[in-house]
């Protein structure tokens, strides 16, 4: 016990000695701190007198980078679409902007480089929502670049509206989002929607003198909406719909269905499909010799890999949803070449250029607003006209009514715009025999 007390006393003494030394040291350090701070402050003041007030404010609070948060599918079912339509476009844009020093923000009087913080939402809508909130609240990103797919956009729309963070979207296609739009004023959509696409398709059918048609659709919301939009318009236009059938996502053999279409001997086969169905039906239609005068399929036809899988000769004359191609403007052609050079792959002929347009719009809106304030940027997006690689974009009620094309057709290895109003080439009709 005694030994214990001695040890304790010695410890206390030692500690006191140390304390005195430390006090002295602290005094010295705070003195030197004070002089340092004083020195810097007076230097700043002197510099401040020499600088215009605007720059003074700017250098005080300009961020190092403009942060864009991007929750998106890097794995799972949506990864393919996300890579093709959004990720490569976003990254190419970031590289282009940063090579020029960044985006000019008037409020700070300088160009600020861009950074994208990207998380994998694993193709899960719930995860996309959580990541969007995390990006806004924890990572404190300035803006959000959206995830891939219609369902994810429905899911994040209330979140970005709650935090007043504008999103310019490309991969969302649904008539339901049109009804929802007024409640989510921070969501803007560049992609053309089923209504315009259906109308253009029906107009084309009428122009080409189609008398009878078969309509097939997949049973996801997208297929049901598209087919539902087209069916009444066809009937009103006097086209006889001889067959109206659905097939499930994940179907592995649709030849029995296609044989029925063949037996019905219709002028046009209109298929509202996602890529797996598009590829399956194309291959099987060719095999059983189903060759209607007009063959239209939806998502996937505009992919270069569709042409490359079947060969340009095989897909000659096939129509599909879209559309955009390097011929729509000189800027489009320049961007197309840049994209191919950077990624070694061609962009698709529908949404990829649109994906790039969404970030061009964000950039321009920030420049015009001259601030990173999301509400002000939102108001600029809503009111201005933007020149993009897609086409000029001016939102009407949060939608872009001027997509460069609605219906495309493979002609000589290029996906030409053939709808009546915007065509880059005359439609080939009837579709040539399968090669």
């Amino acid at each position: 016990m005694l030994v214990g007390n001695e040890v304790l006393n010695t410890c206390v003494k030692l500690a006191e000695g140390k304390e005195v030394k430390m006090r002295k040291k602290r005094l010295l350090t705070s003195l030197s701190h004070f002089s340092l701070v004083f020195g810097i402050a007076s230097m700043l003041l002197m510099v401040g007198w020499a600088m215009p007030t605007q720059i003074q404010a700017a250098s005080a609070k300009a961020p190092d980078k403009i942060l864009f948060g991007n929750p998106i599918a890097l794995s799972g079912m949506d990864a393919a679409g996300a890579m093709m339509t959004q990720i490569r476009s976003y990254d190419l844009w970031k590289e282009t902007v940063n090579a020029q020093g960044g985006i000019y923000v008037k409020e700070y009087g300088k160009k600020i480089p861009v950074e994208i913080i990207r998380y994998d939402d694993k193709s899960d809508v719930g995860t996309a929502v959580k990541l969007t909130e995390k990006l806004l609240l924890q990572d404190k990103v300035h803006f959000i670049l959206p995830p891939w797919g219609t369902a994810s956009h429905f899911a994040i729309a209330p979140v970005i509206t709650k935090y007043k963070s504008p999103v310019v979207a490309i991969t969302v296609s649904s008539e339901k989002i049109r009804e929802m739009a007024p409640k989510v004023p921070y969501m803007f959509i560049v992609l053309n929607q089923p209504r315009e696409q259906g109308q253009a398709l029906v107009d084309l059918c009428v122009e080409l003198g189609i008398k009878s048609a078969a309509v097939i659709h997949h049973t996801d919301l997208h297929g049901i909406e598209c087919a539902g939009a087209v069916l009444p318009q066809l009937v009103v236009s006097g086209v006889d719909v001889a067959l109206y059938k659905s097939y499930p996502m994940g179907a592995k053999d649709l030849s029995p269905l296609l044989k029925k279409v063949k037996a019905a001997n219709v002028d046009a086969l209109l298929v509202f499909s996602y890529p797996p169905g598009t590829f399956l039906i194309t291959g099987q239609a060719k095999a059983i010799g189903l060759n209607p005068k007009l063959l239209y399929l939806t998502v996937g036809v505009a992919f270069p890999s569709y042409r490359d899988t079947f060969s340009a000769k095989t897909v000659e004359g096939i129509m599909g949803a879209g559309t955009w191609n390097p011929k729509v403007s000189p800027a489009a052609k320049k961007w197309f070449d840049r994209y191919v050079k950077r990624w070694g792959e061609e962009p698709d002929r529908w949404g990829t250029a649109g994906g790039y347009a969404t970030v061009q719009i964000m950039q321009k809106a920030i420049e015009i607003a001259g601030t990173l304030d999301p509400v002000k940027v939102r108001n600029v997006i809503a009111s201005e006209t933007f020149d993009t690689v897609l086409s000029p974009v001016k939102f009407e009620g949060q939608f872009n009514p001027n997509y460069p094309g609605e219906v495309g057709q493979w002609q000589n290895g290029e996906f030409e715009v053939v709808d009546k109003a915007k065509r880059t080439a005359k439609p080939i009709y009837p579709k040539p025999a399968w090669e």
């Binding site: 794995s75 393919a80 059938k245 649709l254 029995p256 590829f279 569709y306 490359d308 095989t314 792959e345």
Partner: protein
């Protein structure tokens, strides 16, 4: 009418042949080795994409790819079992505990393999055309590559069936499926046999992948869809019954084809209805004990 029946039957057998190959693979891994391999479909994907690259880059015919992809995937599967799953099996207190931990481990494998594939092949949709001529059988028309796939599936299944029933190793595998402990007591090198089963499962998946790549477009995330079908077929055929999985695959293909003939929209629903009915009425499957 005759033509319609022929159409439906051959169409069903084509899809069924693929299902059978996939399911036999899973049956070997789960029925014998108790590894409910959720990453089974990823081996299919590897087979499909390897074939794609071999064909489009080197011009190697997919039929030759069968002989390349099969053995390579067997070795990969064998090594995965000898390292990962054998370790888990030795660590597990009971065979049920092993089934649980191997399920989780194979989930991990799924993500690892899928992400490696995403790095190698990118996320884009890929495909190629091979033997896509029209073939006429008594008036019913089919794509050439589908008939080749059916033929390949039948030949592979037969070879495998003979291997299983006639060879010494095949007998050891069946013994291990019946009762691993007794098989071990009687001199079967159980770890080696289980690793071979897993390797054979990967081989079957790889071969199925090669055939699938001739018929469908592909993307690195395509695997899970096939894993689910394999699970349905394995349950349909009876757990642990390899013959059951073979026949179950063909049955499911036929059912799909018949339902598609009447209403394509109901074909996948039919699979799941059968699955649920089976679990309720005969959970051991058609050939299960």
């Amino acid at each position: 009418m005759f033509l319609a029946v022929l159409d439906v039957v051959i169409g069903g057998l084509i899809t069924g042949g693929i299902y059978a190959l996939i399911a036999v693979g899973l049956s070997l891994q789960y029925g014998v080795g108790r590894v409910l391999n959720i990453s089974h479909g990823e081996f299919i994907m590897i087979g499909a994409f390897s074939t794609y690259s071999l064909y489009t880059v080197f011009g190697i015919s997919p039929l030759i790819s069968l002989a390349i992809c099969g053995p390579v995937l067997f070795v990969i599967g064998y090594l995965i079992h000898r390292t990962l799953f054998e370790f888990l099996r030795n660590k597990s207190e009971s065979i049920d505990a092993f089934a649980d931990s191997s399920l989780l481990a194979s989930f991990g494998l799924l993500f690892i393999i899928q992400n490696i594939a995403l790095i190698i092949w990118k996320a884009d949709i890929r495909g190629y055309s091979y033997l896509d001529f029209s073939a006429n059988i008594l008036g019913a028309v089919f794509v050439g590559n589908r008939l080749i796939a059916l033929l390949s599936a039948v030949v592979i299944s037969l070879v495998f069936y003979i291997f299983l029933t006639r060879s010494r190793l095949g007998k050891a595998i069946r013994a291990a499926a019946e009762d691993p402990v007794t098989a071990q007591v009687l001199g079967v090198k159980i770890h080696r046999v289980l690793a071979i089963c897993f390797g054979l499962g990967a081989l079957m998946a790889g071969l199925a992948g090669v055939l699938i790549s001739m018929m469908y477009e592909m993307q690195p995330t395509m695997g899970l869809e096939y894993t689910i079908i394999a699970i349905i077929v394995v349950v349909l055929g009876g757990l642990g019954s390899i013959t059951g999985s073979l026949i179950g695959g063909f049955i499911l293909g036929l059912i799909g084809s018949i339902v598609t003939y009447f209403d394509a929209g109901l074909s996948l629903i039919a699979y799941y209805i059968i699955f649920i009915l089976l679990l309720l009425i005969k959970p051991t499957g058609i050939f299960g004990k």
